[in-house]
């Protein structure tokens, strides 16, 4: 099992907000957002909640489990 996400889609729906602007909004670096989007880095619960809050969605709408 692996954690996947719809972060890229969320950014697109949110007026194509840049990775840098999203990173600024949740207080991380741009590289962190990039790594989450690519599925290379699993964010903490706190960061996942912050991202969900920013997009006005529930955490499981952005992050979900998938088969390897």
């Amino acid at each position: 099992m692996k954690l996947a996400n719809t972060l890229r889609r969320c950014r697109f729906d949110h007026n194509e907000i840049s990775q840098q602007d999203l990173a600024n909004a949740v207080g991380v670096t741009r590289l962190t957002i990039h790594s989450i989007e690519k599925g290379k880095f699993v964010p903490s619960t706190l960061l996942a909640l912050k991202l969900a809050q920013f997009f006005g969605k529930r955490v499981e709408e952005i992050f979900y489990l998938t088969e390897e």
């Binding site: 840098q20 990173a23 600024n24 207080g27 670096t29 290379k40």
Partner: protein, 298 residues
């Protein structure tokens, strides 16, 4: 911030142009010196000129410190690392390290030539070092001029809450300082330098090579003042640092074991003295390299 940025860049440009003139002077001095050496003439008439060259080294040191500070401020303003800027920083560090080599090589020529010894290695180093200085000047001056022009045109600083530029730059500088120090220490081991020379060399080259890394670390610490320790890095950076630390620990053990074996099989060769520089530069090289690897690849 903007005033400091302009001040540092302007000061770096002025000292850079003076240093460029001093480099031209050095090149002329080297030509005079080699002409006298080839003609087997005494070097005493060049003593006064040589003193001026040594004064030039101090000025060059000052320029390098100001220019590296100016480059750091440029990075902080732009909030991005470009290949061109990174190459300039690398060239700056190499050029900075070469200053001490210039000094040593010129002193050696002054001692070895009257004693009838060969100075080919010192000459080769001086020529290569001059080329490194010129390359750095050639990169730094246009970049700074371009940057000042962009500032005048009203370029605004990038809006970044959590800065990753200084974090990555510190590790790039750590990588280059670690590599330079590690290679130099290995050379000392393999060249079987006697202990009495090592005692003189180690306190001199270690602080000099590590200076650029300490400089950016100090700068970074100043930037972090007033910020809680746990907020110095974001969660991915903490993870990368942790993974890099673990890998550094694992890799440093075989590295130190190899040095221990060298000491064991050649006792009295003075290798014990290089234990600390070897460890210091190996750790710096591994830790910076691993952190960058994890930061960009994961």
């Amino acid at each position: 911030m903007l005033n400091r940025l302009k001040l540092f860049n302007f000061a770096a440009l002025v000292t850079g142009i003076v240093t460029l003139c001093l480099l031209a002077y050095n090149a002329l001095f080297y030509i005079k010196l080699i002409t006298r050496i080839n003609a087997a003439l005494p070097l005493e008439p060049l003593q006064e000129t040589a003193n001026f060259v040594f004064i030039g080294f101090f000025f060059s040191l000052l320029f390098h410190i100001i220019s590296i500070a100016a480059l750091l401020l440029q990075f902080r303003y732009d909030k991005k690392i470009t290949i061109r800027n990174l190459v300039t920083v690398f060239a700056g560090i190499a050029s900075f390290i070469c200053i001490t080599g210039d000094w040593a090589a010129l002193s050696d020529i002054g001692k070895q030539y009257p004693a009838g010894l060969d100075c080919t290695m010192e000459w080769t180093f001086l020529c290569l070092s001059l080329a490194v200085h010129v390359v750095y000047m050639g990169l730094f001056i246009p970049i700074t001029l371009l940057f000042l022009r962009e500032l005048r045109a009203g370029a605004q600083p990038a809006n970044v809450v959590k800065d990753e530029v200084i974090f990555n730059l510190a590790h790039f500088i750590g990588l280059i300082c670690g590599l330079a120090g590690f290679v130099f220490t290995l050379l000392l081991v393999f060249m079987n330098i006697p202990a009495h020379i090592l005692k003189y060399l180690i306190p001199f080259y270690c602080p000099f090579i590590i200076f650029p890394y300490c400089f950016i670390l100090f700068y970074w610490l100043i930037m972090q003042r007033g910020i809680k320790g746990t907020d110095w890095f974001d969660e991915k950076q903490w993870l990368d640092l942790g993974r890099a630390s673990l890998l550094t620990l694992r890799l440093s053990i075989p590295g130190m074991a190899i040095l221990c074996l060298v000491n064991y099989f050649s006792p009295g060769a003075g290798h014990v003295l290089v234990m600390f520089p070897f460890y210091l530069f190996m750790i710096l090289l591994l830790f910076s390299g691993c952190t960058l690897y994890y930061n960009y690849k994961s």
